[in-house]
Symmetry: C2
Subunit: 412 residues, 2 copies
Amino acid sequence: MQSQSIVSYDKGVGIGDNYHKWNLLREDISLPAAVLSSENVQHNLQWMQKFIEKYNVKLAPHGKTTMCPKLFHKQLDHGAWAITVATVQQVQVAYSAGIRRIIMANQLIGKTNMTIIRQLLDDDPDFDFYCLIDSSTNVEQLGKCFNNEKQRRLQVLLEIGVNNGRTGIRNEEEEKLILNILSQHQNSLALVGVELFEGVLNEEQPIRLMLQRAVACLQRLINSNQLSRLPPILSGAGSAWYDIVADEFSKVAPLVDIILRPGCYLTHDAGAYHRAQIRILEQNSIARDISNDGGLRPALQIWAYVQSIPEINHAIIALGKRDAAFDAGYPVPVLHYRPEWSKPIEIDNTQYQITKMMDQHAFLTCPSNHNLLIGDIIAFDISHPCLTFDKWRKILLINNDYTVIDILDTFF
Amino acid sequence: MQSQSIVSYDKGVGIGDNYHKWNLLREDISLPAAVLSSENVQHNLQWMQKFIEKYNVKLAPHGKTTMCPKLFHKQLDHGAWAITVATVQQVQVAYSAGIRRIIMANQLIGKTNMTIIRQLLDDDPDFDFYCLIDSSTNVEQLGKCFNNEKQRRLQVLLEIGVNNGRTGIRNEEEEKLILNILSQHQNSLALVGVELFEGVLNEEQPIRLMLQRAVACLQRLINSNQLSRLPPILSGAGSAWYDIVADEFSKVAPLVDIILRPGCYLTHDAGAYHRAQIRILEQNSIARDISNDGGLRPALQIWAYVQSIPEINHAIIALGKRDAAFDAGYPVPVLHYRPEWSKPIEIDNTQYQITKMMDQHAFLTCPSNHNLLIGDIIAFDISHPCLTFDKWRKILLINNDYTVIDILDTFF
C-alpha cells in the first residue's frame, strides 16, 4: 500500500509525544476522547476467563469489536484460544499483529479475498485459520481456489442459520447438498465442525432450538464420519447469549471443542450488553458465582466538553455521531468534572440524558437547576462498543487517577 | 504522538503497492471498498464553482464530510476560499495538509484545544482562522487564553441559533451580553462577522426568518461599529439549503463577504441530499441554469459481494454499518456485476432494497426471480456521505473503466 499520508493528527490525544504525562483532569487531552479504564478491562478479562474455565469451553473473542491488536493480546493472555474476525482485512490486521489462530466467522467471498487467505496459509504452516460455509456455490468457488499443489486445505465450519435470519443453512436438505459438493473438494477443503450466530434471534427458546439444531447437525457429521478434525468444533455466541450457548453446548459429548465468540465483554457497555448481563446474572448460577465483586463493568467512555448551554434545560456537548455509537441507545452521562475540581462527581443520568445526536454534537437535556458550565467535562458510558471503537484510531488506556498509561491503536 | 502501530492493513484496497494496476471489474480489490468516481467528483466541483460565481459568494466547503486533504485541495482549486471544519483535530489535519484559511464552525472549548489553536496562530502569521462564539462564558475563557504578548487576536463570528436548535444565541439580549463581555477582551478577540447553521431547521420559511435575523444582527454590528474586519463576514449553509442562504444573504449590501459552507455537494448522495437537490433545482433558477448536463451526481459508492442467498428473495451482502451510513437511509443498489461479465448492469432499486443492516452485513430483499449469484458484486450509492467517509481510511478514486487512479487518505 503506497502511503499518501501527509498528515497524522488523530483525535482524542494530547500535545507532543510523551503521553505518559497526560492526565484527563489536567485537560491534557484534546477532547472529545475515547478512554478505556485499565482496571475495568482487567476485571472483565478475568471475569470471562473464569466463565470459560468453569464451563470448560474455549474462547475466541470477536476481535471486530475493538480491532485493537494490543487488546487481542490481552485476551489471549487471559485464556482466549483464538481471535475471531469478520472480514479478510480483519484477518490481515490480526495476523500481522502476531495472531496465529483466527476464526473468520463469515463466508470467504471474492477473488482477492481468497487470494489473501491462500497466501497466508501457503506461507505459514503454523497459521490455524477457519471460515464458514453455507452454500454449494461458495464451496465450489473455495474448492477451486484452494486446490493448489501445497495441499494446505482450508478449514471450514458449516454454518447453521434460521429463517429470516442472516447467513447459514436453513434445513437438512441444504446440509446434504453442501456435503455432496464438499465431497468433490476433499483435496481443498476440510470440514472441521459446525457454527452458528444465535444473536440473529432475541428470545431464549428459539435460540435454544437453534443451538440444538447445531448440536444435531454436528452429531450427524460425526456419525457419518464427515469431519476432518479431532475433536470437531462447535462454535457460537455473541455477547448477549453466551451463557445459553455454553449451557446447551456443554450437554454435548466431551470430545468436542466448544468455542464461544463474544467480543463486547472486554469493554462491556451501559446499554444493550448491560441489559443482557442483567439477564445472565439472574439466570446463570456460574455467572453469579464468579461475580462476587460485580459482573462485567463498562470500561469504555467518551469524554467531551459542554460546548454551549443555549436554553435553561438544554446543553450542547462537543461529541457526535462521529464519536460514539447511536444505533442501540445514546451515550449515558456518568461523570461531571470542572477543571478546577479535584475529581469528577457522579451525574444522575435519570436527570441528564442525551436526546439527539448530530455528526459532531449531542443534545443533553438537563434539569432546569443543573450545575453545568461551558467548559465542564462530561464522561459518557456508551451502548454498542463495536460502533464506538471504529470511530477512534487511538484509544487512551487510563488508570484510576485518569492518567494515560498507554495508547491503543485500532485498525478499522 | 508516539506510534504504537505494528500493522497497516486498510480495508478496501488491493494486494501490494502498485494501485495503478487495480481494477474493480478484475476483482483486484478486497471488497467491501469505498469508491469515488473521478468524473462525478469533477462534475460536482465545477457545478458548485459555477453556483458560487453566479451568486458572487465565497465557498468554504465543510471538510468534516470527507476529512480528505486531497479533496480539500481539489475544492480550493475549484474556487473555494477556505475549508470549514468542526473540531480542533480537524483544524490540525487541514492545517498540516497546507490549508491556510480555516473556519472552525464551532465554539472553541477546553485548555488543550485552545492551546493548539493559539500555537498555530502564534507560529504562523499567514494562518487565517475563524471560530464561533455564542456565550459570555466562552468569550471570557477565550479572552484569557488569547491574551498573549504576540497580540495575534482570535477572529470570532457571533453565532445565531434558534429555540430548540443547536448552538447559537437565541435573542438580542444574549447578543448584548456577549458584546459587553467582548468589549473587555478587545486585545484578545476580534469580532469579524455573523454565522449560523440553518440546517437545524427543515422548512423554508423558518429558515428564511433565521437568515433574516442573522442579516439584522450583522447590520446592527456594522451600524454600531463593532466589527474588526472589512468587509465583515456573513456565513451559513449546510448541504441542503445553500440556495436559500445564497438568496437571502445576497440581498445584503455588497460590502459583506458571504460565505457558504456546504460539504456534501462534492460527492452528493442518493438519499437526503438527492432529495434536497430536487427541491433546489425546482426552486432556484440559477441552479437550474448551470445544470444543463444534470445537477449534482452521486460520486461515492460502496462495492460489496453477495455473500449468501439463504432464501429465495433474501440475499446477504458483505457490507455493514461498519462500511456505510445507515442513519439517513440505507445504501441503494445501483450496479450488478458478475466477474465473468464485461461490465456491470444497472439494478432496479425499486425491486432490490436493503432492509436491515448489522455491523458487517446488509440484508438485501430481492424479487423471487432475481439474477444474483454468490460472488456477484453490487455497487451501492449511499445516503449521508459524512458518516460513510468516516468508515474508510482509504478511498479509491476511479475512472470510468473502474480502474483505480488514486488512493485518497482520510484523517478522522
